[in-house]
């Protein structure tokens, strides 16, 4: 089975990630997921691709810490985080977060907390590639 926390160039399957999450416990009554995708338009410009750079060893460590913190903080049964790096085409998947708990409320809260914290704490940077040129993105809320 694939690791619960990963950084990878290739695309991922949401179905496989959710199946892996569910395989851990039959007590899981609620699963919340978030999928971040590459928009084809940003700040008035067409975006054809997004290029991601990461301090990979630290990013994986931070993502593992986030997962462990979320499991403890929201009493999750399990959680998974996958983030792509390299070139991602417009419309493609970038990031996936899944949180599984006995009930829906902690699963939903954990999912939002995980993606918000990931944006703040994980050393990954994105550059939008547009017909007008490339531009590094400053943090979005």
């Amino acid at each position: 089975m694939k690791e619960a926390v990963r950084i990878q160039q290739q695309d991922f399957s949401q179905d496989e990630e959710v199946a892996a999450l569910r395989a851990g416990s039959k007590r899981m009554g609620g699963i919340a997921t978030f999928t971040g995708c590459a928009r084809d338009f940003s700040e008035g410009r067409e975006v054809t691709k997004i290029s991601f750079d990461a301090y990979e060893s630290m990013a994986v460590k931070e993502m593992n810490k986030l997962r462990e913190e979320a499991i403890a903080r929201f009493e999750l049964l399990d959680a998974r985080i996958v983030h792509r790096i390299g070139l991602v085409g417009a419309g493609e998947q970038i990031v996936f977060v899944a949180a599984g708990a006995e009930h829906r409320a902690p699963a939903l809260q954990a999912c939002q907390w995980l993606i918000d914290e990931l944006k703040q704490r994980v050393p990954i940077w994105k550059k939008e590639i547009t017909p007008q040129g490339d531009a590094w993105v400053t943090a979005h809320p």
Partner: protein, 79 residues
């Protein structure tokens, strides 16, 4: 030696992803920042965070050891 890494927009402004700099006894994180800021002023205009050996370093008075890996980073934009 200290290995310094740059990523994303900082690397682009520095024109390098990795530089090595000599370690001096008693060297602190701020000393390294001051030295590199003079060499790469455009890159350090956007530096917000530092990490030492893969861990966020909030205290710029942190003493460095020889062979440390130090990263100066801009705001993250993953996700």
């Amino acid at each position: 030696m200290i290995k310094v890494l740059f990523f994303g927009p900082v690397a682009e402004r520095a024109g390098a992803g990795e530089v090595e700099t000599e370690f001096n006894a008693g060297m602190r994180l701020q000393d390294l920042r001051t030295k590199l800021q003079a060499e790469f002023p455009a890159a350090f205009e956007i530096v917000c965070f530092a990490a030492v050996n893969g861990v966020h370093a909030l205290d710029m008075s942190l003493p460095l050891t020889d062979h440390s890996e130090v990263v100066f980073m801009s705001k993250f934009s993953g996700g």
